[in-house]
Symmetry: none
Subunit: 207 residues, 2 copies
Amino acid sequence: MPKTPPGQTRNRIFRFVRDRLLEGDSPSLREVQRHFGFRAVETVRSHLSALVEEGRLIKKSGRSRGYRLPSSASDWSFNRLQPVPLLGEVAAGGFEEAIENPEGNLPVEIPDSRDLSDYFALRVRGESMSGAGILPGDTVIVERRAAPVSGQIVVALLEEEATVKRLHLGPGGMELRPENPDFNILRPPPGSCRILGRVVELRRQIR
Amino acid sequence: MPKTPPGQTRNRIFRFVRDRLLEGDSPSLREVQRHFGFRAVETVRSHLSALVEEGRLIKKSGRSRGYRLPSSASDWSFNRLQPVPLLGEVAAGGFEEAIENPEGNLPVEIPDSRDLSDYFALRVRGESMSGAGILPGDTVIVERRAAPVSGQIVVALLEEEATVKRLHLGPGGMELRPENPDFNILRPPPGSCRILGRVVELRRQIR
DNA sequence: CAGCATAACAGACATTTGTCTGGTATAGCA
DNA sequence: TGCTATACCAGACAAATGTCTGTTATGCTG
């Protein structure tokens, strides 16, 4: 391997490692070595050490594949993004099971004060909230554990089925109000309904 | 370590590994072992092998820290997330200038075939599209350069002001139809209107 | 009960991976 | 010219990590 101008190989190595890290996979020294055709591992090691020295990489010592991107290189305010499980439509069949087997994950920005497990996402069925701009097929992101507050849009668990409605708490008890004149207000008897959380965000793909 | 009911420990191990992987960091067998207090590495290895067998995990063999989530569990695909500039409301004042000075960036998943510069985001003003579930304050993500197709929801530039409407192309020329009976259909004379792109996604924060 | 599957353990072993020490070559510079 | 910094090589070594083989115990089931 011929000698290259100062910094050139180092930059190429940095880009290679960075791209691998962005794919979520820290390479080993020998993987980098093979990729560039170096005949010595040490060549890679010294370059990576230099990159750490320069602050372009971070290394967790005492472990294999320990290189990481420093926060400035990976987060352009994306660091608050968390994978929130998308549970699908959660029709009859069980909510708890759906939590364990999500359809996928959605990148959602959640506040630092909150835990990732406080959030999940659902796909909306039915037209009952179309008056509030929530259409079938939309995805709602739900914050759990929030104390039920009258007037908020919530996800309620009624007979093992999740449903999106606007919550009203009055002297007559709990009301789940659709936002569509074609649907009726639900007044579930106490104990038969559990409020899973409140809708904090809505996403719609238009294709 | 006492014997636990079948599947219970395996589920706990799965959740632990999954969470580590979602943090972008594959744990080693001995890290899992330490976390659960097992006295044998093999305990972890057999559980993880079983999880791979069940299809709940994937393993890249011949390498350390080789466990990954199968695509169904990890398809949050953070790699495709790109910072799309949020231009604000783009009232009178100029669209081109707004492109230069975005209010911020939004993480948006865009297809590999498309370029980042093909996208921008706008905040919606007015009630004219509320019938289509697009409310004031919502953020729409717009794909530029798409050839105008009749029936799509588009962003049009009318007298230096961006507006969201449904596009209709007919023999009588171009129509921009609001989705709200309180608003009128716009029929801009040819040349006075530019279609900036089509709305591909909608996001709404509910706070 | 016997048979079987599973959970967990024990310890050796092999492979991967990171670290170290020292060497060669080349370019730039005083 | 000699000095120095950098790129790269060579090989040994140590630590981390994964794999294997065999054992013990427990619950389930026919």
